[in-house]
């Protein structure tokens, strides 16, 4: 586990390697999120300060892209595909089941920090529809009844 200072040093080094260029903002945010796990406001302000731009500008970008998150993600991130193919094959029902089992809504994290439930649009595995991913591992040809058993593995 890295200390806070080590994480900031790593980020600052990366920003410096890009000459504090504000047009690299998205790359910097990606790196920051991979280091810290999420992008709280204080971190956005730090980045803004380094790049000599307004925190409002950074916030505008962070809030625009669904990839960026301002709240810490759970240990296991569940992504349910709501792309057209998965959707017509009932991925909305899969999502509902997950919400029911985890007692959270789409986009939220369980209070114990174990699961984050999110949705996305098409993972490019339409042949396996409906599909969900947990921590990058793909589960295909899902039925609502499969969900509980899969969750139990985590």
């Amino acid at each position: 586990m890295k200390t806070n200072k080590e994480m900031f040093d790593e980020l600052d080094e990366f920003i410096d390697s890009l000459n504090c260029n504000p047009s690299e903002l998205i790359a910097i945010l990606h790196r920051a999120q991979s280091i810290f796990g999420y992008l709280p406001f204080s971190l956005q302000a730090h980045i803004a300060n380094k790049l000599k731009i307004s925190p409002a500008k950074v916030y505008g970008v962070v809030s625009f892209y669904s990839f960026f998150t301002m709240v810490p993600k759970g240990k296991n991130v569940i992504n349910v595909c709501l792309g057209t193919a998965c959707f017509v094959r009932g991925s909305d029902k899969i999502l509902e089941k997950l919400e029911e089992l985890l007692h959270i809504k789409n986009g939220e994290t369980t209070p114990d920090g174990k699961f984050t439930l999110t949705s996305l649009r098409c993972v490019g595995a339409c042949g396996l529809a409906p599909v969900m991913q947990i921590n990058g591992k793909t589960y295909g040809n899902l039925t609502v009844d499969d969900v509980e058993g899969i969750l139990a593995k985590y």
């Binding site: 409002a56 500008k57 625009f64």
Partner: protein
């Protein structure tokens, strides 16, 4: 490169760098717009093409194009008002309205809303689309700016002004799609320029009318008003006076009609500010310390330096701003003079400015446990109050300010214009150093451009001055100071482009370009100054009396107690 085009079957030869909208406007062809903004003061053209109201037909093109963002090309044939275009525009506006509260009757922008005007102009009688509101119809107030996200049309003008004109970039568009909204402000300085450009009631100002009305109807309160220099050439805008008209005397009378106990002048405070600030400047010049002196009348600028350049806080003059000085004197010397308990005195300021509201709430701006200023009304707000009471400025008789704290020199009037405060300092400094002022007009510091430099001779000294308006220009100068590249003795900074005449609380005229309004107001102010019997602050007899009877000399202990303040590092806010 010149190209030939046709608009509505008429031929024009114009530069290909121009857009359809620019050519149309140049030739008086009306194309309605909503998100588009041309900020002439800073030559900023904002054309996100996001509202689609300015769509026009171009022959040979399948889709309608936004006139604001489409450049003209050789042979282009544009039709601006065909049935197809008008129907499409109506749809666009109906879609905007389907996501709008449509509570025009209770809306603070009623009668001044660009969306409302557009709906009227396009003859919209029915909204064919049903929709849910993407944002809540609520009023959220922060830094005296009131935000109602449900009324926002996402034109982005506020963001553009804050970022490109003011250089603060306190706000941005956040989230995406249906959820998109203007973000919470970070390090806002309350200049109010965003409110001035908002086409709807998404951004409005906080109001103090009720507090003032309550004070006026309280028999135990002695209600005094003081009116800022820039208000007297702007209030008339709300009552069909030509832009820049001097309505001082009618304005004074209007306060009497509303029942104010005394009508006094912020100008008196401005002359007093000049006494203290000039004294401070000459002292610093002598000791060569804390130079350049920077004026501190503008609360937007003060908030800016506190938040962004706290390491330079030794440079602004510690003199309070004119209305704060006025308030301090009103509740001490003046209270004594007229024999009224200072606790009963309620001081209202009429200001061209939103940041003055925030300034008035600063805790260090009080003496003996009494806040120097109790309420601030902007010009827009005051006009609203007058209309509410059925008072028409145009039909009022004329009246003069009450005596004591009512007299002022022309040097006080010019505080309204960019360059005015420094010119006023130069006048008094010249008088003090040489005993006379041969030419009170320091033309070199006047103008409208964002940054101006001048060297003026004051006594035996060549004084290097710099004047900046629009807070973005302040940041340029602060960076120069930090790098040691700024060779000035004194700097004047005003947060709004053009100075207080273009303040965030001033009326907006719909009948002419803002740049022309600013010029007319500036000229109005210089005319008032020109016609004043006294043009130098230290010649103000009421000021002389105040020092003789009460304060002693400029910079005295008592003057420091009442008339000076301090600033704080707000970079972490």
């Amino acid at each position: 490169m010149l190209v030939n085009i046709k608009i509505n079957n008429k031929c024009y030869t114009e530069d290909s760098a121009l857009t359809i909208l620019q050519v149309a406007r140049k030739h008086g062809i009306h194309i309605p717009t909503l998100c588009y903004m041309f900020h002439e003061e800073t030559n900023l053209e904002h054309k996100p093409a996001s509202c689609r109201v300015c769509i026009v037909e171009v022959k040979g093109r399948r889709n309608l194009v936004p006139a604001c963002a489409t450049n003209i090309v050789e042979g282009m044939e544009v039709l601006t008002n065909t049935y197809k275009v008008v129907e499409a525009r109506k749809s666009v506006v109906e879609l905007l309205l389907s996501n709008h509260p449509n509570d025009c009757l209770q809306c603070s922008k009623n009668g001044r809303c660009e969306l409302q005007k557009l709906a009227a102009e396009l003859g919209i009688r029915k909204i064919r689309y049903d929709g849910v509101l993407s944002q809540k119809n609520v009023h959220e107030e922060k830094y005296f700016v009131v935000k109602n996200p449900s009324k926002c049309v996402l034109c982005g003008r506020c963001v553009a002004v804050c970022d490109k004109v003011q250089g603060i970039n306190a706000i941005s568009q956040s989230l995406r799609g249906f959820k998109t909204k203007i973000s919470e402000p970070f390090k806002c300085i309350s200049c109010g320029q965003c409110i001035q450009v908002c086409p709807t009631a998404a951004l409005t100002q906080s109001k103090s009318i009720d507090e003032v009305e309550k004070a006026l109807s309280d028999p135990n309160k002695f209600v005094v008003v003081n009116t800022a220099p820039a208000t007297r050439v702007a209030l008339g805008d709300e009552f069909n006076f030509p832009a820049g008209s001097d309505v001082t005397k009618k304005m004074v009378q209007s306060f009497r009609e509303l029942g104010f106990d005394k009508v006094l002048d912020t100008n008196f405070g401005a002359d007093l500010t000049i006494m203290e600030e000039t004294h401070e400047f000459l002292e610093r010049l002598k000791s060569k310390e804390n130079l350049p002196l920077i004026t501190s009348c503008c609360p937007g600028w003060i908030k800016y330096i506190e938040q962004f350049h706290p390491e330079l806080l030794n440079l602004p003059s510690t003199s309070k701003s004119p209305h704060e000085m006025f308030g301090a004197i009103c509740k001490s010397y003046y209270a004594e003079k007229i024999g009224i308990d200072p606790k009963k005195i309620y001081v209202v300021s009429l200001m061209p400015c939103l940041a003055k509201k925030r300034e008035a709430s600063r805790e260090e701006l009080q003496n003996d446990g009494l806040q120097n200023i109790d309420a601030v009304l902007t010009v827009k707000e005051y006009a609203e109050m007058l209309k509410m009471h059925g008072i028409n400025l145009a039909t009022l008789e004329e009246s003069d300010f009450d005596s004591l704290l009512g007299e002022s020199s022309g040097a006080a009037d010019i505080f309204a214009n960019t360059g005015g405060v420094i010119e006023a300092v130069a006048r008094t400094a010249t008088k003090w150093l040489t005993g006379k002022v041969e030419d009170v007009n320091f033309e070199a510091v006047r103008g409208l451009s964002g940054v101006r430099e001048a060297t003026v001779k004051i006594g035996d000294n060549q004084i290097r001055l710099c004047v900046a308006s629009g807070i973005k220009n302040a940041s340029i100068i602060m960076d120069k100071i930090k790098k040691g590249e700024a060779h000035y003795d004194a700097i004047e900074i005003m947060a709004c482009p053009g100075g207080c005449v273009n303040g965030g609380g001033q009326p907006i005229r719909s009948d002419m370009a803002q740049i022309d309004v600013i010029k007319a107001r500036q000229q109005g102010i210089y005319n008032i100054d020109k016609n004043k019997e006294k043009r130098v602050s230290c010649d103000n007899e009421e000021i002389q009396k105040l020092y003789n009877e009460y304060l002693g000399n400029p910079g005295s202990e008592k003057a420091h107690y009442l008339l000076h303040t301090h600033f704080k590092d707000c970079s972490k806010d």
